[in-house]
């Protein structure tokens, strides 16, 4: 849930989402849900000529399970705060995951 909250703070920022099928899409982050599904507006595909089916697409929904990386603007990430929150979340649920 931590990264869900984290991504919510990035809504409105320009991000690049790299998918597991190597497609990379840059766009304005519109929304994120608990699965880390992502909605992007005003998108631009990196290496567009390789993906002609994406040429006329202006906004999209990306399923969280197919995302490999999300490239973020460094200025809008407080790594110290994020580290601290991760540590605190770990402390709240000490025995294994969940």
């Amino acid at each position: 849930m931590l990264f869900y909250s984290f991504f919510k703070t990035l809504v409105g920022q320009q991000v690049t989402v790299e998918l597991k099928n190597d497609l990379a899409i840059t766009g304005l982050l519109v929304s994120v849900d608990q699965f880390l599904n992502i909605k992007l507006d005003n998108i631009k595909v990196v290496e567009e000529s390789r993906y002609p089916h994406m040429m006329a697409v202006k906004n999209c929904f990306i399923r969280g399970s197919v995302v490999r990386y999300v490239q973020l603007p460094a200025a809008s990430v407080d790594t110290a705060l994020l580290q601290d929150a991760a540590r605190r979340e770990r402390q709240q649920q000490p025995a294994g995951r969940k």
Binding site: L19, K20, N21, D22, L23, Q34, N37, I43, P52, H53, M54, M55, A56, V57, K58, N59, C60, F61, I62, R63, S65, V66
Partner: protein, 113 residues
């Protein structure tokens, strides 16, 4: 899904909310190079786990597209030729690799989706 389903825990509620899609007036569009061909397919139900991306088409952008539409039959013919050429290329490459003692598997990287 059974409309009388009762959710017992929040986890089971979350599990049953997925990216499932129902598409109406679906066409399958086949691209080769700068050409494309459409095949009418009708109604589609897509199970969430198979979804990668759902995009909205900008009709203005689509009009500006440099791609040209060709009849499906022609498209399928071109696609078949491309596929045969790829099979021939792969065979040749695998044969060469094999001769040099490399083990060849059929992993097609980046084409899983």
């Amino acid at each position: 899904m059974d409309s009388f389903q009762i959710f017992t825990t929040s986890t089971s509620l979350v599990d049953s909310v997925d990216t499932n899609l129902v598409l109406q007036d679906t066409i399958e569009r086949i691209y080769v190079g700068d050409a494309y061909g459409d095949i009418p397919r009708g109604i589609f139900i897509i199970r969430g786990e198979n979804v990668v991306l759902l995009g909205e088409i900008d009709l203005d952008k689509e009009d500006e597209s440099p791609l040209r539409e060709v009849p499906v039959e022609e498209m399928l013919q071109i696609q078949r030729e491309e596929m045969e050429a790829k099979v021939r290329r792969d065979k040749l490459r695998n044969k060469l690799l094999h001769e040099h003692g490399f083990s060849v598997d059929n992993a097609d990287f980046g084409e899983q989706y």
